[in-house]
Symmetry: C2
Subunit: 153 residues, 2 copies
Amino acid sequence: MRWSEIGEEACSVARTVSVIGDRWTLLILRDGFLGIRRFDDFQARLGVTRHILADRLRKLVAAGVLAKTRYEDRPARYDYRLTPKGLALHPVLLALVHWGDTHMADGKGRPLVLRHKGCGCDFTPVTVCSRCAEPIAARDVRVRPGPGARRAV
Amino acid sequence: MRWSEIGEEACSVARTVSVIGDRWTLLILRDGFLGIRRFDDFQARLGVTRHILADRLRKLVAAGVLAKTRYEDRPARYDYRLTPKGLALHPVLLALVHWGDTHMADGKGRPLVLRHKGCGCDFTPVTVCSRCAEPIAARDVRVRPGPGARRAV
DNA sequence: CCTCTTGAGTTCCAAAACAGAACTCACATA
DNA sequence: TATGTGAGTTCTGTTTTGGAACTCAAGAGG
């Protein structure tokens, strides 16, 4: 199967992966959430080649995750900022950060500390059930085919 | 920068991406959470070429996300199952599924429905603050360098 | 005994993606 | 006129994929 085909699968993970399932794309999003907007800033922070960066930004814009806006005329200058669809990826990034902090630590402590403005405390993200608000573990979830399924699980 | 170097960054996202930031790896994990364990089952479901699958499974085992166990002797047969470290990726997968359901839907409804055994209801995952239990939005989070940081954010 | 099947891979080749560096283009400043 | 900046594109050679066939060990069928 080709990369270009996986977005057509009847699976939300496959569709999501078709948009963000790339090392550079995930790092671009990380920097996007940290406030990076300009081409050269992404390039300098990521160390990605300019060619690949241009390609990934184009794809993220096409997917509606980033919006390219002209922030200056003469000379024309553009930046890339997260759309509402892009901002909705925040839980994904929080989950990645938390897993990395917990399972890929190097003994020097967390590279970043997250503070919740709502309560003023440093926090870690917790995934809970939308119905009962209890934390969810892998064993607590039963999966079954939904209306959009094409095959049995 | 090469793929092999990004795991050394002082960033939990980069370290996490160095392990799971690959289209096939994420789909392997998806199937792992759905109970797939054997080489040929992964291959048939994913449509990935066998040597890429062998490579990704090897890397996931090396990273401690999957464990390769002999489930039969004579002939020797092995399977791959999630370790506790791998099971800890569950929130990442839930976040990916939820984003795909919400933002990549094709109008046919959700491919999978998740039921929480704890309360017996179909649910969606919600990311909340570990301190105040309120849902977290991107705008509610302030990020600052932690003890493991190597540079200012 | 000989062939077929299953599970878990490995090997080979061509096609695609990538890294690194240099180059373009439009304007701005010294 | 020379230098710099932002946002890319082009060129070249190396890696990584995709696709298909092949290996190996053992059990099953005839």
